[in-house]
Symmetry: C2
Subunit: 188 residues, 2 copies
């Protein structure tokens, strides 16, 4: 088998997600993922450290995009508007990935270890966004409050976006959730 496999990473991700959905994450072995993808275990380990990383390999990209969106907001934008920029940026990242995101979320919700890993991912994202806002000159605690608010908005929009039958793109859902947060905190 050649070292180079066309789209090996994508095939492994797809095979892993199918197997995790069918049998559960715990009950799936790396050997089975490789077999389903028509690849070897060795190829699997060239792309992923372990079977959990298949689900979290995109976390770095997700965080980088969120941060880049915040950094790219106009100078002097209010912190919450910079966060809105980050939300727009991640909304683009998710387009075309709804079915994949639904499957991934179902696998994660079903497993305590994966739920914990997801919490850590979001906590790390909140820290990164707080640092980015500080870098834009936002004082504490406004930086961390805006970052946490942004994550809450993202979670609400994401849940809606993957709901059965939902067809709106993520961008309008994110804007709607942000407007709802503003209404809630205004005490409306």
């Amino acid at each position: 088998m050649s070292r180079w496999e066309p789209n090996a990473r994508g095939r492994l991700e797809q095979a892993a997600l199918e197997l995790y959905s069918e049998r559960g994450f715990e009950q799936t072995a790396v050997a089975e993922i490789a077999r389903r993808a028509g690849l070897t275990e060795r190829t699997f380990f060239r792309h992923f450290a372990d079977k959990r990383e298949v689900l979290f390999g995109g976390s770095g990209t997700f965080q980088d995009l969120f941060v880049a969106g915040v950094e790219g907001a106009p100078d002097g934008a209010a912190p919450i508007d910079a966060i809105a920029g980050g939300l727009e940026s991640v909304a683009v990242f998710f387009e075309g990935r709804r079915e994949h995101s639904r499957q991934r979320q179902a696998v994660i919700v079903a497993n305590a270890e994966l739920r914990e890993r997801e919490l850590i991912k979001l906590a790390s994202l909140a820290s990164a966004m707080t640092r980015t806002l500080r870098g834009r000159g936002v004082a504490d605690p406004a930086a961390s409050l805006a970052a946490e608010a942004g994550i809450a908005v993202f979670k609400v929009a994401f849940e809606r976006w993957i709901a059965d039958g939902e067809e709106h793109a993520m961008a309008p859902l994110v804007r709607e959730a942000l407007a709802e947060l503003k209404a809630v905190t205004a005490g409306g």
Copy 2:
């Protein structure tokens, strides 16, 4: 040794926190905690399932108080005002516990497993508060957004309250952090 030990639970907590601070959580054995407290391992296990539970044994009370404060808000109060009621309620819980809270936080920050457990505790609190708000007739996503906002406010106020040299009680810090969240989300 008699089955009944005066304030055994409190003595074990104090001994555990001292040892975790001195040597690190990983490097402390239950036998050492019991010895430092002048009690037996058997007594330790009558009070705690394991050495991690010493740090999280109060989580249930903390959550119950937060929820009770939300439930106790006047009928028809806006969700964020109900959350403010929960925050007032937990602020009372923490009074007199600042030094203990500082030590506990330092132990948790130093250990990845404990940081994860703390994230799970807060996620569970967010779920409980969301359910409580729904029970008060608050629709989604306002319920979850208000709950997440409340946790963000709590985290900011708590960090300030345990900061070196801080002498304000938690209640005014909580009110200040809530006001800051409102200013941030208003885009001020």
